[in-house]
Amino acid sequence: MMNASQRLFLALFLSLEIVLTNSLSFNLILLLCFNALVIYRKIAWKRYGTYWLVAIIPSFGSFWSFYLYAQGDLAMRLHTGLVMGSRVIVLIFLGAWLVNGTKEAVLLQSLQQNLHLSNTFIYGMLAALNFMPRFKQAFQNIQAASQMRGVTLRWYQPTLYFKALIQAIQWSESLAMAMTAHGFQEGAKRSAYQQYPFKKIGFYWIALIAIVSVAMSYLPY
């Protein structure tokens, strides 16, 4: 229905609307919708549970501070607390909908094709994302290498990060050389193996959702 860039636009629009709207019903309807969409993606239950776990503390904290210290009587403070608390959960599930339906590489390449972002920026981001598993492995190796040499490096010790940083600088230089050797030239014209064009129907959906959501923001309570 929507390409990756259009999904991002919709997510950004709804995020903005969520933070500007003072309606609990609006938040709850969106939460139900995005929860259903995330479950529809058939993600692992562990991951789904993690979203709730991540959401629960900031959501409760937000609710509690507004409930206790916001202006107005008890009913108003309760309403404000619930709006603020539910807002955190909706935003997390909106983000979950976006990332579970779109591969990072596809989103970046789609943005490059649709918004003509710099290739250097896009491939820099892609390379950084691809480095993540290597970072994880590197941390494990650095810790093991240190222990094999009689030094225990804990996760909170700067030496571990310093070493990882040096490796990252080293990688980035090697990677830049490899990109150059494989013909990457900043600003040069490139073709595209996969095309991610805007879809007309995607804009209709964005317009429809925008109209409905704006209308919903006037719901009582």
């Binding site: 590489a105 598993p133 040499r149 030496t159 490899a178 990457f184 193996y193």
Partner: protein
Amino acid sequence: MPLMVKNLSFSYREKQLFSDFSISLESGDFVLLMGPSGCGKSSLLKTLAGIYPQYGGKISGSSSINGCLLAEEKANDRAKQVGLLFQNPREQFVMQTVEEEFAFTLENLSVDPKQMSEKIDEVLERVGLSDFRKRLLSELSGGELQKVALAEVLLTGAKYLLLDEPFAAVDQASRADLQGLLASLAKEGYAILVSDHDDHGYLDKITAFYSFASGHFEPVEKEQWPKKKERKEVRIQKKQNRPVLFDLKNVAIENDQRHLIHQVELAITAGEWTLVTGPNGSGKSSFLKVLARLLKADGSMTYLGHDFSKWKKKDYYRQVTMLFQNSLDQFINITVEEEIQQVRQQSYQKLYWTDEKVSKVISTLGLDGLSNRSVYTLSGGQQKKLQLLLMVVMASPVLLLDEPLAGLDSESVRAVLALMTEVKDNLNITLLVVSHQVDQLASLVNRHLTLQNGEFVDEEVVAI
């Protein structure tokens, strides 16, 4: 139109690496370049590919094709003419999968998207990796990565192929396959310049041979080329009745959801020097990682009679250490001096490693004069030798070595093996070595395990 190189000199951080290199590389040429570790082979190839001086160093002289200076061409135009295969296979890919990586290169060269798929299949078939299109690069072995890198270079359509020690982590069979492929590419009209430490398999295929001496790469007359070695089998000198260190039963090792090894029973005994061989991607490195507790596996695995996954890591790593395939993973300080001092302080054999002995080994390995250098600016060979020095000075009872000879010239290999023999005999260290370079190892090891169809088999001989 040849690739003309005239009086090319290169210096890095005020140090001249090579000077006055000239060559006319023409269609059909297959040139082998040999020289000791750190002499500048990688820098020469990077300079020819236009990577230097863009990424550092100073050059004088020129390299050009049809009168166009390569250093002045745009990267996407240059890549269509000159392809470079890097020494470290893990540091030459941008994307996650083989297909995405190849598409990236084709996109850089503005190839028509309709032709891309076909081209990708074509080059993968050429290097014998037809079913690798969707594979994750992070899960491939060193040898598989080099084949993918070669395929990527072929994909660019470049007719001048520069290969920087392409077979350092490739098994003998794949090495022979790829050398045959390079020879056939040369016959088809490609011009190939390859640097290597080992002349094995090249001598009946190359058209020219360059060697490094006194700061120069000079052509060697055909009569003076190294002689082709005859293949032979070396019988293993086995040791009997040793106490068991590692005892493995029903062990299953997987990587990238691929079943690699299922071993019903395997024991590694104390004081042995075991050589582990097998095809690329068969699981040799994964096996060492399991013993070093860097990779999980199913089954019963004990060290000195106790399940080693239950040992505290700190205690386990006092017993078992590993020489990583990637040297940079081993270093925890910045300079060579800091690294050596650190292991001397922590060594389990402080009395053995006297000042005199350490200095002698540093000198034997050709690492003298480098004490203030950052470990990150050493050449690949120097890093490998330093890495080995550090681990033998630590002198844990068991040392696992993953490709300790990769990227080393023959003199360095001799020095490294002499050092390993010395510490094994004097300190009774158990060595377990994964290596594709077996020529000089064969007469030293006490056991030879080969991985065949996912299972280790004890061999009586090592074929060299």
